[in-house]
Amino acid sequence: MIRIALRMLLGDKLKYAGLVAGLAFATLLITQQGSIFAGFVLRTGAWIRDTGQADLWIMDEQVEFTEDRKTMLDSSLLRVRGVEGVEWAVPMYKAYMPCRLADGRRVIARVIGLDDATLLGAPPIMESGSLEALRQDRGILVDFGDAQDELSLSIEPGSSERRPLEVGDRVDLNDHEMVVVGRYQRTTEFFWDPLIYTTYSRALAIAPPERRMLNFVLARVKPGYDHEAVAAQISALSGIQAYTAEGFEARSMDFILRKTGILANFGITIALGFVIGVLISGQLLYNFILDNQRSFAAMKAMGASNFLLLRMVAAQVMFAAFVGFGIGVGLTALSGRVLSGSELAFNMAWQVPVFGGVAIVICCLFAALLSISRVLRLEPAVVFKG
C-alpha cells in the first residue's frame, strides 16, 4: 500500500510539484541561512586557525575573545615556560592603533607584534615580500586583501582612483613611520579592521605606553603531553588562563554570538523558513488529503485500518520531504558555489544539512498532523453517501 500511496501522491502532478516546491523553498531558506550563519561562526575563529603554530593560547583570565585587550604581567611568559610539558612559549602583542596612509587617509588597524627571535604566530601564506623581511628596520606586513581595500592609496591627491598598498610603501602607525616589507594572505575574519604584523619589540615601541603590554603567550606542547592537561596546569597559575586553539576559538565564538545577537537574527530567519515550510506544506498536504478523502474512506470501508492509512500518509509526507529537502539542499550548495568568490560568509558544514533535514521532517510531521487527523476521523460509511 506504500507504493499505492506514492502513486497517489505522484499522480497529482500539480499538487505534488507545489508540495515539493514549498518544502524545497523552506529547506533553501533554512540551510542557506544556516550556512551563512555557520560561515560567520567559522570566521570568528579564523585568526586563531591562521596562527597555526601554537597548541596553546595563554591570556589574562578575563579575556573573552580574540580582540579583547586585557593584558598580563610580562613575567607570565616566564611562568608559562616553566610549566612541565611546554616545549616553547613566545609573546604576542595585539592592539588597535591609528594608521595614517601616505595619501592622508586614516584608518584604525589591528597591530600584532610577533616574537622578535622566532616570528612565531605569523600568517601562514606570504603573497609578496618575505616574513624574514619583518626584521628590517620599521618593517610591517599587511594583508593582501586589506592592501586592495582599506589600505589602498589614491593615485593622485583628490583622485578617487586608488592603487593597492605595495611592498616599499610607507604607513604611519600611531605616528610612527613604518615600511611595508611584505604582503600576506589570511582567511576572511569576522572582524574587518586591517591586520598589520610587526615584531613584538617594535609593536611595544610604537604602542601607547601601558603598565602591562603582553596580550597573549603562544605555546607549543612537548610531544607525548596532553594539551588539555598542560593547559590546566598553566591555568592553575594565578591570573592567567590557557586554552587549546579549539578552546579559544569556541570561547571567542560563544562571546561574539552572545554579544552581537547574530544567533537571534539568524534564528528568526531560520524559524521563518520553518514556519513557511509548515504553512505551505501543511496547506498543500491538507488539500491533497481533502481531495483524496473519498479514496481514503473507500479504503477504510474496504478494510484498511487507521494504522495502514497513517503509514500511507506518512509515506507520502516523507517522500515529499525527501525530494523537497534534496532540491533545497542542492540549491543551497549551488548558491554557495556561486557566492564562493564573494565576501558573503558561507560554510555548509555537515551539521547544516543534518539540521535542515531534521527541521524539514519536523515541519512535515506538523503538516501531516493537520491532515492525518482528518483521515483518522473519516467514517467509512461516508463513501455510501453519493
Binding site: M1, R3, I4, R7, M8, L10, G11, D12, N292, R294, S295, A297, A298, M299, K300, A301, M302, G303, A304, S305, N306, L308, E379, P380, A381, V383, F384, K385, G386
Partner: protein, 238 residues
C-alpha cells in the same frame, strides 16, 4: 471458515434501528428492519430516496453502527467488535461497489482493483497480477493499465465490480450501481455482476431504485420510511 452452500443465511437482521442525531434533531433512518439475505442470491433493496436503503447496507457491511436491534452477518455480530477487528472483517468478507465508484483517479484500473488484496497484505506486483486476471473476467483485460479518466462510465463500473470481487468476498454490497449509466449499459453491467459475482457461497445486496433492472434480482426487499414493507421473489429466482 466453514464452506457455505446456496441458501444459507448470510444476513439476519431483526428489529434493526438506526437513529442519526439526538433530541429534536434526531432522524430515525431505520425503524425496526427484519431482513434475511441468503447465499447464492442477489437481493435488491428498493425504495424511494431517503427510505434508509444506504443506511441499511452500511450497517450490514459493518461501516456504520446500529442504534438498536440485531444484525448478524455470517453469524457474526460485527457491531459488537472494535473498529480494528471490524475493518479486518470487512477486508476479508465484504466487497463494495459504491455509487460514486470511488476509483482512485491516479491509479491504473489494475491498481484500483488490486487495492483490497493489498489491504489484506498481498504484495503490489502479485496483487496487480491477480487484479489483471479479475479484469479479464469483466472483459477489461486490455484496459488494465488505463487510468479511470480514460475509461467510459460502463468500463469504470466494471472496474469497480472487479475491485469488489477480486478478494473473493462472501458478501458483496452495491450502492446504486447503475445510477450514472444509461439503460443498456446499466443492464449489461448488472448482467455482468450477476454472472461474475453470483456464487453459491456469496450473497449480493444491491441498493437501487432503478426499476429497469429489477428483473435481474432473485429477491426484492421494498423499503419505505425506514422499514422493509415486503420482500418478493422474482421470476429469475424461480
Amino acid at each position: 471458515m466453514s464452506k457455505l452452500t446456496a441458501g444459507q443465511l448470510a444476513v439476519n437482521c431483526r428489529g434493526l434501528t438506526k437513529q442519526y442525531g439526538q433530541g429534536e434533531n434526531a432522524v430515525q433512518a431505520l425503524r425496526g428492519i427484519d431482513l434475511e439475505v441468503r447465499t447464492g442470491e442477489m437481493t435488491y433493496l428498493v425504495g424511494p430516496s431517503g427510505c434508509g436503503k444506504t443506511t441499511l447496507i452500511s450497517v450490514i457491511a459493518g461501516t456504520l453502527d446500529r442504534s438498536g436491534g440485531a444484525c448478524e452477518v455470517f453469524g457474526d455480530d460485527v457491531a459488537s467488535w472494535g473498529e480494528r477487528k471490524r475493518a479486518a472483517w470487512r477486508g476479508r468478507n465484504v466487497g463494495f461497489v459504491f455509487q460514486a465508484l470511488n476509483l482512485v483517479p491516479t491509479l491504473t484500473a489494475a491498481e484500483n482493483v488490486a487495492i483490497p488484496l493489498m489491504i489484506l497484505g498481498e504484495g503490489h506486483d502479485k496483487a496487480v497480477r491477480r487484479a489483471g486476471e479479475m479484469l479479464e473476467r469483466v472483459d477489461l483485460g486490455a484496459r488494465a493499465r488505463s487510468l479511470p479518466a480514460q475509461l467510459s462510465g460502463g468500463q469504470q463500473q466494471r472496474v469497480a465490480i472487479a475491485r469488489a470481487l477480486v478478494h473473493d468476498p462472501r458478501l458483496v454490497v452495491c450502492d446504486e450501481p447503475t445510477s450514472a449509466l444509461d439503460h443498456d449499459t446499466g443492464h449489461r453491467v448488472m448482467e455482468l455482476l450477476r454472472s461474475v459475482a453470483s456464487s453459491a457461497e456469496r450473497a449480493l445486496i444491491v441498493v437501487t431504485h432503478d426499476a429497469r433492472i429489477f428483473s435481474l434480482a432473485d429477491r426484492i426487499a421494498h423499503m419505505d420510511d425506514g422499514r422493509v414493507e415486503r420482500v418478493e421473489s422474482t421470476p429469475s429466482s424461480r
